[in-house]
Subunit: 295 residues, 3 copies
Amino acid sequence: LTANQPSAQPAAGGTAQLDQLQAQIEAAAAAVRQTRPLAGSITNNVTIDFVANAQLAAGGTAAMVYLPDEGETLADISAAIYINMGTQIEALAASIPATAARCCATGTPWVLDPVGIGIGAQRTQILQELKPFKPAIVRGNASEIIALAQLWGLEIPTDQPQTDGPLGVDTTDEVLTALPHARALAAHTGGAVAISGPRDLVVDAAHAIESAGGSAYMPQVTGFGCSLGGVCAVYAACTTPLVAALAATNHFNAAGTAAAAAPQTAGPGSFKVAFLDALANTTPAQIAANPMSAI
Amino acid sequence: LTANQPSAQPAAGGTAQLDQLQAQIEAAAAAVRQTRPLAGSITNNVTIDFVANAQLAAGGTAAMVYLPDEGETLADISAAIYINMGTQIEALAASIPATAARCCATGTPWVLDPVGIGIGAQRTQILQELKPFKPAIVRGNASEIIALAQLWGLEIPTDQPQTDGPLGVDTTDEVLTALPHARALAAHTGGAVAISGPRDLVVDAAHAIESAGGSAYMPQVTGFGCSLGGVCAVYAACTTPLVAALAATNHFNAAGTAAAAAPQTAGPGSFKVAFLDALANTTPAQIAANPMSAI
Amino acid sequence: LTANQPSAQPAAGGTAQLDQLQAQIEAAAAAVRQTRPLAGSITNNVTIDFVANAQLAAGGTAAMVYLPDEGETLADISAAIYINMGTQIEALAASIPATAARCCATGTPWVLDPVGIGIGAQRTQILQELKPFKPAIVRGNASEIIALAQLWGLEIPTDQPQTDGPLGVDTTDEVLTALPHARALAAHTGGAVAISGPRDLVVDAAHAIESAGGSAYMPQVTGFGCSLGGVCAVYAACTTPLVAALAATNHFNAAGTAAAAAPQTAGPGSFKVAFLDALANTTPAQIAANPMSAI
């Protein structure tokens, strides 16, 4: 096994499954571009501008708030909500649970990004309160997905299905380590979980799909995880959690591949600029065609 | 009538009026570049970096605060102040009224951007408190201008003058819908109102001027409204409210036109970069020459 | 004397001293790239994204918080901490002193950026509380360095050594005006002080070194001072305060020179993009080779 080995092969029956998902992803991307859904956010201040611009470039509409009654109002007027746990301020102790509760009560899909889980009493307290409000999508890196499943006291399945092909080495393993925790989260929420890393996995009760592509520049720029979460919310306004998480991940990976290859890209600064261009310029067909494989 | 129809023609006598405004705009732009006025801000966190960079690129100096005594001090040391209602945090309930009151007491011009009007009790409360402090310029989109005039209980003139030419269709109508509310706001404040949209209108007690240009990329990037508001404050440090609002709007439209035509522009990411370059590179003469028409 | 005159010549014996510093800078830059140290920040919202992206591009890792217990935890898991006094919110009245105290107790180097010193009661109160916690590096412009030395009641040496060469004119004088205050701060902290300006000085008890280069675009973009402070913290994780402050300043000046000369740079927007590329692409040898002179 080497790091250069080709990606995992689809499971038996996976091809038909992937064909169907591709069609759903293309339809979702077309619907986003046509309806420009509002995906309101409570998100951290480091990357708040990047989240908004990524949501706009992907075809959605953005709005950000901090105060509790504004979060509830935003949930009422949004087609989906993105909640990111970074850069906590005191007001968010009330706002985040209130906004998630409103989404849960009204059936508005919401995306949870548990960034920074484990740091600070307020973040832990909020994350515990969020458990019953069942986000449509949880997005995080492997460590965050594992920590959230543990914080919520979920039972981790040990009898998970065997993968069908070689799984690669090194950093890939880290993503796969979180697969049972992602399955446990998906079983609890009834939605999807997106694990971001060198290889990106999207999981729900019935699927575990890898989305290839992207660029080594992505971890050199702050906010690719946050903005992916924000774009997951844009897609969640138009399709199921699984298809939304896959469409957003494919969209990012296709745009990342294109931006890394753009002639003007010469480092992390120009890569980010080219990435926002590519997010806007990647077509629904290209988003659907980004390489995926079932594992 | 089609969307491609030429812009409204100037009213009788409008040519001399526009010539005078052009001269005033060019003088204001030259004064900004020469004096680099400090235009302090209380503004939202989504676009705070873009506001500061736009103010710097336009020729001003930027500083941002949140706390009440800092807002009052900033008003004392600034040549003008920009107040944007986005991303409310609790401290702003005191800071924004205190800062506006200080500006009103000392004669420092300030710009109000009522973004998000209608969302949340705190924003509504603050906006009500701001009425007596009479901003030199109110900047917003048509919906925000209409909502602010209504929140302040202003009488909307129904006998407004007829326009002199074809007014176009579709989205233009939305901007024109806010014209009587803009006139009512200007009558209350004694200053100017800038309505941003597919066509940009600047209004005061005696004028309603359209500024053409700009780019379809602008609404695809977050913060063009906020940064225009911040640059209105830079200009308000050097000239009258009407000329300041027109100069800032012309500056944005000329830079937007140039950025859209720049060879490196290939999407919203590269457009924003080229726009900041163009803000800095557009000359006072080019700012003054951006097409305007009286309506 | 003219502004175009060559930079100050090294003091007698300065060449050997500079050779040694160059070697230490190159080693520090290599160590940063190899270890990717986490330099957590409490920093202002205007430039928070730029600070994080500059830290990443320079080779470090970034994380930002506001709440007191999060600051203490961040100090525990970071190799160095960056504290910037801009855009105060109420929570920082407790968080900043608690975080600095933790760094002081555990020997974690931290960098203080006293931006906005003199504005607002809270900022003054915090800065007074920080005095006993002795930052490894203080970074600011000349006015900020002077104000901090005065706020801390430090005795300003009047018998400072004569400089050995021509010191230039105009804006250079402003930086040199702060030299005795920088020496007083360094004597108090036992660390280094970086004075940013048209010419950048780095001072400790035994050295006063000028780092040349950079670009006139830098003051036209918000956050070059803040992001330099953040990168000082990245370097402080890997070397002494003096070498860290010099390495960060050299890194910025070398990258600024390269970015200003990049063919795609046409204004402040494209300069910032090219600068982030150059931060990532400048090699340890190039960072060490950026022109320095002892004064």
